[in-house]
């Protein structure tokens, strides 16, 4: 009798059996019940995997990880170094975020759309980058860590033909590290 009970209860071991011939999906309600994930609280069974604990020795190394670099893009009104209305609002947030960080380097790169000559656009993109540089200096970012560059129309965000008025290309990209 005891043997039979053991044999029957042994059937619960079926839940771990793998059906190598048929489909992996349960074929009956009972089987679905048996094969459902068992919710066992931590420590109840020696077979339960305990969550990976943070190694206290790793804490210093983790804390030493530098913060993720911050990147922002601001847009300009056609043929000017004035922010668009939306970017004027966004600029405040961007500069506040930059100010709140301990930064080692701010890279400011100006761009234009393809309207006008290449030469003119290099100057325009430089003026846009310079505008952002002045804003950063005004907010206390040290001058010597700001790098500016004007790319003119050489690195379009939205690829267009020449002489195309594209607002997304009239931008400055700020990379704060």
């Amino acid at each position: 009798m005891l043997l039979i009970t053991q044999l029957i209860s042994g059937c619960s071991g079926y839940s771990s059996a793998v059906n190598s011939l048929g489909p992996e999906t349960p074929t009956s309600e009972m089987r679905a019940q048996i094969e459902a994930p068992v919710d066992v609280a931590e420590g109840q069974s020696p077979f339960c995997a305990k969550p990976v604990e943070a190694d206290p020795e790793m804490e210093t190394a983790m804390a030493a990880l530098p913060p993720e670099p911050y990147r922002a893009r601001l847009y300009f009104i056609f043929d000017t170094s004035q922010f668009t209305a939306e970017s004027e609002v966004a600029a405040k947030q961007v500069f506040d975020e930059i100010k709140s960080r301990q930064i080692a380097e701010a890279i400011v790169i100006g761009h234009t759309d393809t309207m006008g000559s290449e030469q003119y656009n290099i100057g325009l993109s430089e003026r846009r980058a310079e505008r952002v540089r002045q804003e950063l200096i005004r907010r206390g970012i040290p001058e010597n860590i700001i790098i500016t560059k004007g790319m003119g129309e050489s690195e379009l965000l939205v690829d267009t033909a020449d002489e195309v008025d594209e607002e997304k290309n009239r931008r400055v990209e700020i990379d704060v590290r």
Binding site: E57, M58, M62, L65, P66, A104
Partner: protein, 155 residues
């Protein structure tokens, strides 16, 4: 040199999203966080690390007890080293245009945490951390390594 190492490696890998950024100049990275005393061995000379120091290929770094250092690489890979840690930047290459490249970092002692940047985002095997007994690829994004020399025999 007769040094026996028994290393204990704890590697934890998590997936996380990575934001892009560009890298510049010949330097491979920059010292972004610093506490205590950290030295850099470069071309036979040993100098104290200062916040904002630029790092180059083949640089070896050593943190003292109660010290740590954090590095931001050009591709936005971030590395944090705990106390009594010795590690080196064996190789580093990141091409801004193609956003590809590779990096090898060796740790001989201590603790190191790494968060992948563009290199790992574009190639899972691009960033490798070498320990005295194994090589770990920073496959997804976060990796932490601990190397404990249980005993060292000095001849």
């Amino acid at each position: 040199m007769n040094i026996s190492f028994k290393t204990l490696l704890v590697a934890q890998l998590f997936c996380s999203f990575i934001f892009a950024s560009t890298g510049y100049a010949q330097t491979v990275g920059i010292v972004k966080t610093l506490s205590g005393n950290v030295q850099i061995m470069r071309a036979g000379a040993k100098v104290n690390v200062v916040l904002g120091d630029k790092l180059f290929k083949a640089d070896k770094l050593q943190t003292e007890s109660n010290s740590s250092v954090g590095i931001l690489f050009n591709d936005d890979t971030r590395v944090g080293a705990g106390p009594n840690t010795a590690f080196s930047i064996d190789s580093y290459h990141f091409d801004i245009k193609s956003q590809q490249g590779q990096a090898d970092i060796s740790i001989t002692n201590g603790t190191l945490a790494l968060v992948g940047g563009k290199l790992t985002a574009n190639n899972l095997d691009a960033v490798k951390v070498h320990t005295p007994t194994s090589t770990l690829a920073a496959t997804c994004s976060t990796l932490s390594v601990k190397v404990d020399p249980i005993f060292k025999e000095v001849p």
